[in-house]
Symmetry: C2
Subunit: 375 residues, 2 copies
Amino acid sequence: MSLTFRLDATDAAARAGTITTPHGDIRTPAFMPVGTQATVKGLTPEMVRDAGAQILLGNTYHLALRPGDELVRDMGGLHRFMNWSGPILTDSGGYQVFSLAGQRTVTDHGATFKSHLDGSPLELTPERAVDIQQNLGSDIAMVLDECPPADAPPGVVRNAVRRSLLWAERCKSHHTRPDQSLFAIVQGGLNVELRAESAGPLVALDFPGYALGGFSVGESPEAMHAVLPACAALLPAHKPRYLMGVGRPQDLLAGVAAGIDMFDCVMPTRSGRNALAFTSTGSVKLRNARHRRDPAPLDVQCGCYCCANYSRAYLHHLFAAEEMLGPTLLSLHNLAFYLKLMADARTAITAGGFEQFKNETLVKFSPTSPDSTTS
Amino acid sequence: MSLTFRLDATDAAARAGTITTPHGDIRTPAFMPVGTQATVKGLTPEMVRDAGAQILLGNTYHLALRPGDELVRDMGGLHRFMNWSGPILTDSGGYQVFSLAGQRTVTDHGATFKSHLDGSPLELTPERAVDIQQNLGSDIAMVLDECPPADAPPGVVRNAVRRSLLWAERCKSHHTRPDQSLFAIVQGGLNVELRAESAGPLVALDFPGYALGGFSVGESPEAMHAVLPACAALLPAHKPRYLMGVGRPQDLLAGVAAGIDMFDCVMPTRSGRNALAFTSTGSVKLRNARHRRDPAPLDVQCGCYCCANYSRAYLHHLFAAEEMLGPTLLSLHNLAFYLKLMADARTAITAGGFEQFKNETLVKFSPTSPDSTTS
């Protein structure tokens, strides 16, 4: 068994667990920083680790296009290539085909599309998605799924459920790498009945972990929050549950409350590159002139490298001067913030106080909080 | 006395010394990484320190314009602002006024010019140059000088010598900060007689250190190398000698051979951002397709973080994918290369074998070396 999951504590639906992988353990709930192109943008692996990351996410679509999954395999696999010795999860490439690629055609066989890099024609089938991920050598691979946008007609969502099951079966049949675990993905949009139709046969196939796909694809956060508890409850309690591509801090807390164990999102690093910080008193825009002479750290409650060593004035200067260190420091801080949020959530779950922790934390992110999104 | 210099060893004209400053010692010959805008581009201070840096250079012109020297002072000085606890040298801003600023007018009073950032009118006098550097709080400040280009007519160079002396006197009179040492700058271009005319009265003024300015301003490296020994010999033997803005590894070795102790140049970091690496077997262009599948480190003889952890294939990928980590890793390696070159030179001087070390090293940078500038 290449992956195990242990439930360490539960608090209502919220869970604290431990996932063991060939590259180390992951305490859940866990946030996975996104290393799309074999690097978490602007950070060394040591910075990511020191910020508290236990597992990274790599993007199958991007890595297959460049530098190529066979090249990564020949260089010793993704861990060695990017110098990250901890666990790695790779997505299946499906989401990127649907969001990035040009002129795509999807049939039950797979997706044909044009590369967003050079327009060259490519094909992604369930078998190819597995081959790529086996070449990358991630600890956790994902099945290829069809991920419709939030405004897709019911028939499209229903067909995506059908096709994603078909593809999951083919991925499972094709998957051979014993040191890699393949997770299934449940689709069905905001329709809990469709989610149940998707989850039922996938659960019967006995995957070692399950993800909820098709969220954060254009629906309102409230709509997602409303169905998350019912959707999470469709997944086996003794296996890891992963909410793909989500989200804001408040979305992570809603996910944890619903019983989700794993999250990934580009938001902390992308926001960091754009001078937007997440802090314990709300979001902060470092380009704002009010920070120009502020000697205080970004977040007095944060112990990360950025907050321990630099002032808001310095961060403001770095962004004004368009210096690379600005995006680096703010990406690092935002990751540390997300990772501490999950660590604190785990502590609260273990102590049986998650609901109170969640409510107290959400107040800080409310639009009426003095710092929130206005500074 | 805020600065002392001790000669630890000499080998012909080459010197190994120790400069003590309020923020620590500097073993010479020393290379100073350039942190123009209060950051060595793309690197944390810890990365710069771990690469072997003992002292950084900050740019008075840039910092006075943005974020402003009074702001830096109010934030606790440049060391605190940028989180660098070691020694810092600041230039006087003269070179940038002559190379970057628009529509400048220079009189004996000072230089009036337009900011390269927003075109706003500004003035740099000897007194203002000192005030700025006292606000920044560097360990070593430089006098304001006039730095003509290599193709300047003899009359312009002669006038720059006269004016630079005038300005040096005014800087010295204006300078009050006891924990900061003010170095003089000798001008005179490639004319050793003019250099002697410049050095004589400056030496009589008894500055704690002396720089050669007006090199690397468009002349050929050979022309500079030819006059360096005579120019260095004009400077007091018991004080630090600094060759400003120089240069390539071979230029540093020529400088050390001539008796220079300190160097600065943007070349290692600028080249690094442009995928050009300095290695023990010559320069290497990481964008070249020959590195795409190369699992070897950039430089097998280098122990830096980049070479210890990453392949040429990964570095090639980072530049192909335009990932920030590429410039970061290559800047770090290039700095480590420059800093090790100076550390190795010091070892060779102490052992009495600098000439042999220099000749063996220069062979590796010759255009006929297999890797040099072609890979």
